[in-house]
């Protein structure tokens, strides 16, 4: 009996994984249709409403979203707890909620362009999530509480809605900035594009070496003088402190890092930079244009005032949700699980920073001088803070939330 149930559960996990993949593919298809919608819209009457391409696109987006909701529910049933307990689960959920937030905003403003960029960012998030182990992990005692899904999902939904303002911001900048001119504005806009390509580079290189099943082990000495083994999944360009290659026929690095630096992570960063940069320049050489220039046609018909309002609206909708999930629910749970509602753990501090940043954003919006392009840049910084909280705080700054890694 138990065996049978076990097998059913495994099938459920399998099915849930398939639904996630289906969702990803549907998002990709929907992106193309939104692109078609923009093409079709040229020369169309402004008040004619969405064209057929857009209607199909939003339909496929909703289908993808439902498929991902299916993934979420099945995984919840199979795992016995809300699938938001590690990096893989949290990041896919974040991606899903970004799509959800976009769907809501779409029905308010009917913007195809927003669809393209929101779906691309969602797909990047989901792809990034898949770089982490996707096994269903058992909960450690402190996570074993209803507050897990109450706090984590609300915080993620808040962050996803806030991230939509970044999507709107990028569209605003692509439209308003002359990408071919020299200067700070076009440089930094291109830097955003480059960063997104780096993310693609990271996934590309991780997947490539994972498919090739690359593995090299090193003996090394940590900062307390203890001997340890580090297992590299990418060829080591930099080795660990006093590292000694123990796997045969693998790349032996020329330099070793001091003990204080996490050499394995640094190695991934270097590979990401190399691959991303190559990818970036390949695109530039093929099209002989900056990426921001390449994307210009997509934003040609965008109304700047409208997209500015979409960005502001996203912050207005997302800010209360984030405050509730990321701070208030977080404090209630921390009081129950960790005995104190606030303990200056890095994740807590960065949630506070996110909150303060968007609070500053909302106050700046009181003056017209900060509408438009300045707002758009702020939205980009806000997203950078959210990503920092997701990636760096979990993986680099040690703290109580590090279990997520």
């Amino acid at each position: 009996m138990a065996k049978k149930v076990g097998k059913q559960m495994k099938d459920l996990v399998q099915l849930s994984g398939n639904l996630l993949e289906t969702a990803f593919i549907l998002y990709l298809v929907a992106t193309l249709f939104f692109g078609g919608g923009i093409r079709e819209n040229r020369g169309r009457d402004k008040n004619a409403g969405p064209n057929r391409w857009s209607k199909i696109a939003i339909f496929i987006t909703i289908l993808g979203f439902l498929s991902q909701v299916g993934y979420f529910i099945l995984r919840w049933i199979a795992g016995g707890h809300a699938p938001v307990s590690n990096m893989f689960e949290f990041t896919t959920f974040f991606g899903m909620m970004l799509v959800g937030a976009f769907i809501i905003i779409y029905f308010m403003y009917k913007l195809n362009t927003l669809g393209i960029f929101a779906l691309v960012v969602s797909m990047l998030l989901i792809a990034y999530a898949s770089m982490f182990p996707s096994d269903i992990s058992p909960l450690i005692p402190s996570l074993n509480s209803h507050w897990l899904y109450i706090h984590v999902t609300t915080a993620a939904i808040g962050q996803a809605i806030l991230s939509l303002s970044f999507v709107a911001g990028v569209i605003y900048l692509l439209k308003s900035i002359d990408t071919e001119a020299k200067g700070k504005r076009s440089f930094w806009l291109e830097a955003i594009m480059y960063t997104l390509i780096l993310a693609v580079g990271f996934m590309f290189v991780t997947t490539a070496f994972s498919v090739a099943d690359y593995k090299a082990d090193f003996n090394w000495i940590d900062k307390d003088g203890k001997e340890r083994v580090a297992s590299y999944a990418m060829p080591a360009l930099v080795g660990p402190h006093e590292g000694e290659l123990i796997t045969q026929n693998k790349l032996n690095p020329k330099i070793n890092m001091p003990a204080i630096i996490d050499a394995k992570r640094l190695n991934s960063v270097i590979w990401t930079l190399i691959t991303g940069t190559i990818l970036y320049w390949v695109i530039r050489l093929i099209f002989r244009k900056r990426i921001s220039t390449l994307l210009k046609p997509l934003v040609k018909k965008v109304n700047l005032d409208l997209i500015d309002e979409v960005g502001y609206r996203s912050v207005l909708i997302g800010f209360p949700v984030f405050a509730l999930g990321g701070l208030i629910f977080a404090m209630i749970w921390a009081q129950i699980a960790w005995t104190r509602f606030w303990g200056w753990d890095p994740k807590e501090v960065w949630a506070l920073i996110t909150f303060l940043f968007y609070a500053a954003f909302l106050h700046l919006r009181l003056s017209r001088g900060w509408h438009g392009e300045k707002s758009a840049w702020l939205a980009v910084i806000g997203f950078a803070i959210i990503m920092f909280n997701l990636i760096a705080v979990n993986l680099v700054l040690a703290g109580l939330h590090s279990y997520a890694a």
Binding site: M108, I260, T339, L366, S367, L397
Partner: protein, 548 residues
């Protein structure tokens, strides 16, 4: 400064820019504007009116949103610095922070410690920043709320022509024969859209969502209450935070409860995930990371000590309840909460030694020492006796004078100095016995103590908390959330429809979400002769205001 009487007859407080009642521009600057700044309805704010005394200056400084934003930005930047290295409460407890930061993080660590960043969030300057934000919240809110409230309360339906003309959404056309009919139609539609409609002399003011204008002030009140709650923690008696270690079977007074409560730990249990018994889907993850703790909990009994019994007397205790404390499920009683926080498995409890003769290994007796309650001597009968001359629960080596050292009173590495008395040696032979180590400091002995066995027990770590500020923080948080929702999810919209000198004037204002307002007006005016108002911002994009 004097009160300003407008030509419409309304008396405005000193410093008013637009008449509260009719909206006429009262200052020269306002008359020159092509669009009104409607954020605070042109009301008389104290900060914009007085600037003489020192109080005025302080008031004006903190009433500025710009200052508020700077405070927020400085605070968030400072906060981020504290996450670069672990804060002092997260480093191991038994080390000196000064050396820890230098040892672990080198020069950067030393600098971090010297600058006080290791305890950044309790530093005077960080607390000062938070306090300044609090002051800014209060002053900004009062400076704006009072005049804004007055202006919205005193507004009349019929506005001055100049007021309408300087709204962002505005249009003026000639009236037609259909106008009256259309007014009625629009009025009907406005009602359906749940506008409050006021009429005066054929003019119409439709308004909805005014309460959303109070959202920011409500959420600021919530924040202030929250900050006050945070400060109250420093009032004695409001806050208790103590740690309590209990071994299996141990009974102790709960610290921080004025010796009123006593807790007994009947048994501590820790459970790991089991690949066989638990969900099979965890298998892969367990294979990857190894053992994962599933739960840990203490079976406890809570007692109350009656006030007249002496401290330490555990005989006259009243049992209050039995409970299981586990992570996420604290034991609560009388404003206190006891949390499961940590544990220690297999702590040494007793050690047993054989007393034997070296020559023939003949066992003369057995000594069992309770590591928490060692006796001075153990009589084995027949002239055999063991005296315990020294006990070192956490033996860490010998001092220069040869004296054995102990690090703590916890039996992590127990060591003993025995005096073995036998019929052959009535004065005894000395033996120093530690785990895997026997020394005979005063020469070779005939007898020896050999290790036979050990028993262990578990210990549970609990945290005792009392926090009487929680309900204040809760109220503050709830008010904050209500205010934020009130201000974010509703908009304050007004539409004016007026007839002046045979013309129809339409103007509209919202505090945010202009696109939505325009769409709503489009629906309201559909198939009428009243034109949609134009967005005057589209014409003048250079109308940049500064933040004050």
């Amino acid at each position: 400064m004097k009160e300003v009487k407008c030509e419409c007859g309304h008396v405005n407080p000193p410093g008013t820019i637009l008449c509260e009642a009719c909206g006429l521009a009262l200052t020269e600057e306002a008359q020159k504007e092509t669009l009104h700044d409607m954020r605070y309805e042109g009301s008389a704010r104290r900060s914009q009116t007085y600037n003489k005394s020192i109080i005025d200056k302080i008031w004006n400084f903190f009433s500025s949103v710009k200052v508020g934003i700077w405070l927020i930005v400085i605070t968030l930047t400072a906060s981020s610095l504290g996450t670069l290295l672990p804060q002092v409460m997260y480093i191991p407890r038994n080390v000196d922070p000064a050396t820890y930061y230098s040892d672990q993080y080198g020069i950067f660590g030393t600098l971090y410690y010297i600058l006080g960043f290791h305890d950044l969030y309790s530093s005077w300057w960080y607390l000062l920043l938070i306090a300044s934000i609090g002051v800014s919240l209060v002053i900004c809110s009062i400076d704006r709320f009072v005049p804004l409230y007055r202006a919205l309360k005193n507004q009349r339906v019929s506005r001055h022509e100049g007021f309408l003309k300087r709204q962002r959404l505005y249009k003026r056309v000639e009236a037609t024969s259909q106008t009256n009919q259309d007014f009625e139609l629009v009025k009907q539609r406005l009602k359906e859209k749940r506008y409050n409609i006021r009429e005066d002399d054929g003019n119409l003011l439709a308004e909805k969502g005014r309460f959303s204008r109070w959202g920011p002030y409500v959420n600021h009140i919530g924040l202030i209450i929250f900050l006050i709650g945070g400060m109250l923690r420093f009032v004695p008696g409001m806050y208790v935070d103590e740690e309590l270690w209990l071994r299996d079977g141990e009974i102790k007074t709960i610290p921080g409860t004025n010796k009123q409560y006593v807790l007994e730990n009947k048994k501590f249990t820790m459970e790991l995930y089991d690949k066989e018994k638990d969900k099979q889907v965890y298998g892969a993850a367990l294979d990857r990371v190894g053992n994962v703790v599933k739960s840990f909990n203490s079976d406890v009994v809570l007692y109350e000590r009656s006030p007249d019994t002496t401290i330490g007397d555990n005989d006259n205790l009243t049992k209050i309840k039995e409970a299981v404390i586990r992570v996420n499920e604290p034991l609560k009683f009388d404003n206190y909460a006891v949390y499961q926080i940590d544990y220690k498995l297999d702590e040494f409890k007793t050690m047993t030694f054989n007393f034997l003769k070296k020559a023939n290994e003949e066992i003369k007796g057995e000594v069992t020492i309770d590591l928490f309650d060692p006796q001075e001597e153990y009589d084995l009968g027949k002239g055999y006796k063991v005296e315990l001359l020294g006990y070192y629960p956490d033996f860490s080596g010998f001092a220069e004078n040869g004296e054995p050292q102990t690090d703590s009173q916890t039996p992590n590495n127990p060591a003993f100095l025995f005096n073995m008395i036998s019929p052959e040696h009535p004065d005894g032979e000395k033996s120093f016995t530690a785990i895997r180590q026997t020394l005979e400091p005063l020469g070779e002995t005939e007898y020896k103590m050999t290790f036979k066995g050990i028993t262990t027990q578990n210990a549970t770590a609990l945290i005792v908390r009392k926090d009487l500020t929680l309900w204040i923080l809760g109220i503050g948080g709830a008010i904050f959330m209500l205010g934020v929702i009130q201000g974010s999810y509703w908009n304050h919209r007004r539409i004016w429809l007026q007839r002046i000198k045979g013309d129809v004037l339409i103007a509209a204002h919202t505090n945010k979400n202009w696109y939505g307002l325009k769409r709503e007006i489009e629906m309201l005016l559909k198939n009428t002769t009243i034109p949609e108002p134009e967005d005057q911002n589209d014409k003048k994009s250079d109308n940049n205001e500064k933040i004050e």
